[in-house]
C-alpha cells in the first residue's frame, strides 16, 4: 500500500532581478509546481540550466519561502508551520548538494561535521552523537578512524559520502539530492549511485533526485518530472516517460542525449531542438516552449497549458495532450 509522504501544491517563486527602474522586473523561477512523493519512492527531477530545479528543491525544503503554494510532510503543514514545528519537520527531510567539500565545515573534523545536525537539533549528548557519526561512517563506506580527519583530506567522492552520512544522521524520511553526483567522474559516480540505492533499500528512504543528466535520473528514479522554465511539463513513471515522452520538450531532451552505443546512435541521429531556451527574465507568452516546438498549435502562443492527466500516473502540460474540449479549442 502506498503512503503519500510529501505533498507539494502550487509552489511559485519569483526573484527580484538585478538592475533598476524598468529593468528591475521579477524573474519567475518556479511557477505553480505540484507533485507528491510516496514512501520508499524516488522522484527524479530533470531539466537544463535555469529551469528552476534547484530553486524548487530549496522551496520544498523550506529554505526559502514560496510566494504561493505549500508543502506538507506526512500530513503536517511545513511551509507556514510555527518555528518549533518547522524545526521538528526539518529533521524528516535533508539535502545533499553538488559540491560536498564546500558544504562541509573545513575547521571541523569529519565526525563533528556528520554529528552537527544532531547538536543543532539538541539530540543526545556528545558521546552519543559521536557514536551515531561513527556508525554512519561505516554505513557510507568509510572507516571509523576517518572521523578524526578533516574534509580537505578526502577526494570528491569521499566528501560526497561524508555529506550523505550527515544528511542521514537525523534519520530523515526524505533525502533531496541536488546534482549530488554531477561533479564526479564516471567510475566514482557509479560508486555513489550504488551507495544511494543501497541506503534506500536498507533504510526505506524516499528520494527527490535532481540532475541535468537524464541518464543518471533514469537509473535511480521510479518516476521522473521534467522541468522547463520554472514549470513541470511532464511527470510519469520513469520507464514510460523515457520510452514515450508526451511533451515535445521531454522528447527533444531525450533525443539530444548521445547513447553510448555506436551501433545505435551516431552524431547524425542526435535530435536537434530548435533555438535556445527562453530566458526566465523574459519568458514568452503562452507555453514557454512554443517557439522551439515543432508541433505548436495556435493556442500555444497565447495560453499557458495546464497540467493534464493523460493516463494512470502520467501528466503533461501540453495542448497536444489536453482534454478533448481543450483540443477542440486548439483546433479552432
Amino acid at each position: 500500500m502506498t503512503e503519500t509522504l510529501l505533498t507539494v501544491a502550487g509552489l511559485s517563486k519569483s526573484f527580484r532581478a538585478r538592475g533598476t527602474g524598468l529593468f528591475r522586473r521579477p524573474v519567475r523561477a518556479v511557477s505553480d509546481v505540484s507533485f507528491t512523493l510516496q514512501r520508499g519512492e524516488t522522484l527524479g527531477l530533470v531539466g537544463e540550466s535555469g529551469c528552476g530545479k534547484s530553486t524548487l528543491a530549496r522551496l520544498v525544503l523550506n529554505l526559502i519561502p514560496p510566494d504561493s503554494g505549500h508543502v506538507t510532510i506526512g500530513g503536517d503543514a511545513f511551509t507556514r508551520a510555527g518555528r518549533e514545528a518547522q524545526r521538528r519537520l526539518r529533521r524528516r527531510m535533508q539535502i545533499v548538494f553538488q559540491d560536498a567539500l564546500s558544504s562541509l565545515n573545513p575547521r571541523m573534523t569529519v565526525g563533528v561535521n556528520i554529528a552537527e545536525p544532531l547538536r543543532l537539533q539538541g539530540i543526545g549528548n556528545a558521546a552519543e552523537r559521536r557514536e551515531a557519526a561513527h556508525g554512519l561512517l561505516e554505513r557510507v563506506g568509510l572507516r571509523v578512524q576517518d572521523a578524526e580527519r578533516y574534509p580537505h583530506e578526502f577526494s570528491g567522492g569521499q566528501c560526497q559520502r561524508i555529506a550523505i552520512a550527515r544528511a542521514l544522521i537525523l534519520k530523515p524520511d526524505i533525502v533531496v539530492f541536488d546534482e549530488a553526483v554531477s561533479a564526479l567522474d564516471v567510475s566514482i559516480r557509479a560508486q555513489i549511485l550504488r551507495l544511494v540505492l543501497d541506503l534506500q533499500q536498507q533504510l526505506g528512504l524516499s528520494y527527490i533526485f535532481i540532475s541535468h543528466d537524464l541518464g543518471v535520473v533514469k537509473r535511480v528514479s521510479d518516476r521522473i518530472a521534467v522541468m522547463y522554465l520554472g514549470r513541470i511539463v511532464e511527470i510519469g513513471p520513469a520507464d514510460e516517460l523515457v520510452r514515450g515522452p508526451l511533451h515535445p520538450y521531454a522528447e527533444a531532451l531525450l533525443r539530444a542525449i548521445p547513447i553510448a552505443d555506436p551501433r545505435r546512435m551516431r552524431v547524425r541521429d542526435l535530435g536537434l531542438a530548435e533555438g535556445e531556451a527562453a530566458s526566465p527574465m523574459n519568458p514568452p507568452d503562452g507555453c514557454a516552449f512554443h517557439q522551439r516546438c515543432t508541433r505548436q498549435l495556435a493556442i500555444c502562443a497565447s495560453d499557458i497549458p495546464a497540467v493534464h492527466h493523460v493516463s494512470p500516473g502520467r501528466s503533461t502540460a501540453c495542448f497536444l495532450h489536453a482534454s478533448p474540449a481543450a483540443s477542440r479549442q486548439a483546433a479552432d
Partner: protein, 335 residues
Amino acid sequence: MTGPSMSGGDIALDVRNLRTRFGPQHGGVIAVDGVSLTLRRGRTTALVGESGSGKSVTALSIMGLIEPPGRVIDGTVLLDGRDLRTASDREMEAIRGARIGMVFQDPLTSLNPALTIGSQIAETILAHEPVSAAAAHARAVTLLEHVGVADAAARAQDYPHHFSGGMRQRVLIAAAIACRPGIIIADEPTTALDVTVQAKILRLLHDLQQEMHASLLLITHDLGVVASMADDVLVMYAGRVLEHADVDTLFHAPKHPYTRALLGCIAGIEDDRTAPLQPIEGLPPDLRNPPPGCRFAPRCVHAVAACTAAVPALQTIADGHSVACFRAMEALGDD
C-alpha cells in the same frame, strides 16, 4: 611496439611515445607517460578518460602549450614529417591556428572580453595570412554564418558576454577553422553546455570536419559523446593509453578490464533500474606515487601477480586494436 595499423585515410599527425612531466626530475609527476596516437584525414579520434588521466595534457603537449615547470620530456610529434618538438616558439605560433585549430571547454575564458568577436576571428586570420583587415573581417562574418550564428554581420560587432554559452562555443569554432586547418583539437568542447545545445555543437563539429576533410582529436570524459562522434578511440588512465580501437570494437568487444569496467559504470538512459550498477571500487592512483606495474591493477578484479611486477605494453591484438594488459588474450568473465 607499434600503434594499430588502421587502414584508410592518410596521416595528418603522428605522435610517438609522448612523455610530459610536471615538477622536478625526481619527485615530479609524469602526467603523460608514453602516449602514441595517429590522426588521419577525415577521421575523428577520441581520447577518453576520467579526471587526471592525462588526456588534456596530451593535447597541450601536442600543441606545445605546456607551461614550465611542466615539460615534454620525450617523444615526437610529426606534422608532415616535421617534429614539432624541435620547432621554435615562433614556428609553433604559426602552426597553431593555421595548421591546428583548437577549441576548449570554456569559451568565455578563451575569448578576449574587450574585443568584438568579429575582430577576434579576423585577428586569427591576419596572424596567419597576408590579407587586408577588411577582407579578414568579411571572412569573419562569413565564418560566423557558417557556424550558425544568425544575423552574423551584426553579431560580429558584439562582445563575448552578449552571447550564450552555446553561441560562444560556435564563435570559438569559427575562430578555430578560420584558416582551414587540417587538424582540429577539441578539449571537452561541450562539457559546460546543456544537452540540447551540446547536440547542436557536436553536429556542427562533425559537419565541419567532414566538409574540410580534417582530422578531429576529440577529448572527452563522456562515453556517449565518444560513441556518437569517434571513428577511433584511445582510453587513457593515469597518464597511459590502456586500449586503442575503432569505435565499434571499443564499445562491443573491449578487451581491457578498465574499458570494460568503465562501460559498466555508465548510467545509460535505456538501462533497467533493476540491473545492478557495477562501480569500479577504489580511487585512481596518486601520480606522485604511482603503483608499480599496471596502474589500474589495484582496482582491477582480474589482476594477477604479473600485473604489479611489470608494466604491460600496448600490444596489437588485431588490426586496429591494441591493449595494454597481460590478460588481454584471455577470455575474462564478468566479475
